[in-house]
Symmetry: C2
Subunit: 362 residues, 2 copies
């Protein structure tokens, strides 16, 4: 049934996004028959031995690949990172307390709104003054808040923290769009969470990696569905988990481990980003939209200085089998997402199209 | 890549459970290449035209198959029906108000606990006195509550409402385990919700079908993630939805429509249940565990009168390629789940095993 499309479409989608080809193949196989069981991954009980093993492996691979301390816990829940925005104050903010937030774009805005609903939010840093085209630096997190939250990479605006902030209070990070792309010192964080649909798997699951010792301090009476400690105690099986998304996450993390883990993928990601940004900077027709030192290795945003050229450029990249480089509807221009599974060849194809376009319009 | 397993495993799993074979095939194909797009269903943006069309079709099919009034809304969210237990009071209970509940097993217990966390719950009927082996009848729902909630089918105990209750207040029903198995007069309900992983699709999405006019009356200030009206206004795309689960739901509902919809599946389900219950009743070795008039057509629960015979019986059904008929860990005995996609042939296989076992031990 397989159609080899690897030479046909270069998928730069901002998420859900490209996953490794072998993950697509193994996933499709498991939909027909999981490991010779005679059953589809879609029809097995989440309490069956095969799925318990899949869940355990996925949880263990998160910790192994990130080098997380032994006592940290991993759960996979539905609802996307937007559910995470809601869960953060529920699990970390005392009743009547507040959370500190760095405001770097649409996702931090939504996270801050959730904190305000649950109590209060203090915005300790913001790049809103320049339409979020840089990462705020040198700010201080106050001691009298319950936690500090930031977004490591901003998919829409194409900015990324190169050095993580420090905080005197528990630090919580939404790493949805750059998790597993570079090393992280997990013990610096009370919690890291991430929607799966970039570097980890398909849409439909969100990963929460946390220090259980940081939970249970809020005085809030939580629904079991909102209580990360409950989900951890039930080994991410309090209720039926998103079985297939968790399976694909396991496959994707196996792939990452197989190619050499974070150290190897970091090199590959750097090579891809270097090539694309060098092309943007070399060609006078194009212009990057973010501060150079904050450029994301996951989402490269750029514009054509002359907007009138957009239709001609669009025609050219579409002809080359390139997909998904239109900018977010709230920003415009272009955005090439360079997630873990995107091959260097795709970036080369885009760079060639840009060169060719510059030649024609130079 | 396909392995034809239709003759090999009879999957009676209580959920996640068997889906139609053509749904497995089309899903696997889409994981490799969605409709010739050159992209996997796992890597397309949820804002792409193909996925918007899939989401729209899935939402429309829910309404079409159930004959829902035009103004009703459908959204698909992550989190399972357990998230639904939480969302019901958030969306239907006034601050300081209360919900009425019929208590018929584990799932209603969890739903009641959520109502108590949000305010108060009045249990208007319960079958706990007989370990939930029947459906309470003839009870009255008081007028001074905000809503009335019940569970249409109880997977663990194998009971099912044959006639739905009536209520002077908005009625909300968890139909996770029998939705799309029989006709429902949707306009009798303010909301019907259901985890996908029985008759609708794989684990990872929950469907909410509701009258938007019944919302927005609580005075609660809701998180956008908890607010069903928000999800409906955003056409179930407030944030990244569970893309693949929604796709498989669409395929499953297309299949149901193709075979003749609810009218046809109701006949098939009746034939399957009739055969199995007749076998249980005819063979003195076996015994059904629920009140006859409340027997579920989705989950048939039964025991061997002599528990010592269990190992021999287990061996026999396993030999016959039967899977998933062990009772829920909280009950024991056996449970054969007869969801929409289970073919009559599988029930015949189980009935034959039971006959054979009776012969050997008669």
């Amino acid at each position: 049934m397989s159609v080899d499309t690897s030479a046909r479409v270069h998928n730069f989608s901002a998420g859900p996004c490209i996953l490794p080809k072998e993950v697509f193949e193994k996933s499709a196989q498991a939909v027909m028959d999981l490991d010779g069981s005679g059953l589809s991954i879609l029809e097995i009980s989440h309490r069956s031995k095969p799925f318990i093993a899949i869940m355990e492996k996925a949880r263990a691979l998160v910790k192994e690949l990130l080098g997380a301390p032994d006592h940290y816990q991993v759960v996979f829940l539905g609802g996307g990172a937007s559910m995470g925005f809601h869960l953060v104050p529920q699990n970390f903010m005392r009743t009547g307390g507040k959370g500190a937030y760095a405001h770097t774009g649409e996702w931090s805005k939504r996270a801050i709104a959730e904190a305000k609903l649950a109590g209060d939010a203090v915005v300790v840093a913001s790049s809103e003054d320049k339409n979020f085209n840089y990462i705020p630096k040198g700010f201080t997190v106050p001691k009298e808040v319950d936690y500090f939250h930031f977004t490591s990479n901003n998919t829409i605006f194409g900015t990324q923290y190169k050095a993580f902030p420090t905080s005197p209070v528990p630090m919580v990070c939404d790493m949805s769009s750059d998790i597993f792309s570079r090393p992280v010192n997990v013990s610096d964080f009370a919690m890291i969470y991430a929607g799966a649909q970039k570097n980890m798997g398909p849409a439909g699951a969100t990963m929460y990696l946390f220090d259980p010792g940081a939970l249970g301090k809020t005085g809030r009476k939580l629904s079991p569905m909102m209580d990360l400690a409950n989900h951890a105690a039930k080994e991410s099986m309090y209720n039926t988990p998103p079985v297939f998304p968790v399976y694909v996450i396991m496959l994707t993390l196996e792939w990452l481990k197989g190619i050499g883990g974070i150290a190897e993928i970091q090199k590959r990601n750097a090579a891809k980003a270097e090539l694309l940004y060098a092309t943007i900077d070399r060609l006078p027709l194009f212009e990057g939209t973010t501060a150079r030192e904050d450029r994301s290795e996951m989402n490269a945003t750029f514009v054509l200085k002359d907007k009138n050229l957009e239709p001609a450029f669009d025609e050219l990249w579409k002809e080359a089998g390139i997909s998904g480089i239109r900018g977010h509807r709230s920003v415009g221009g272009y955005r090439a997402s360079l997630y873990n599974a995107l091959p260097l060849e795709s970036v080369k194809a885009l760079a060639e199209v840009m060169e060719e376009f510059a030649k024609r319009n130079g």
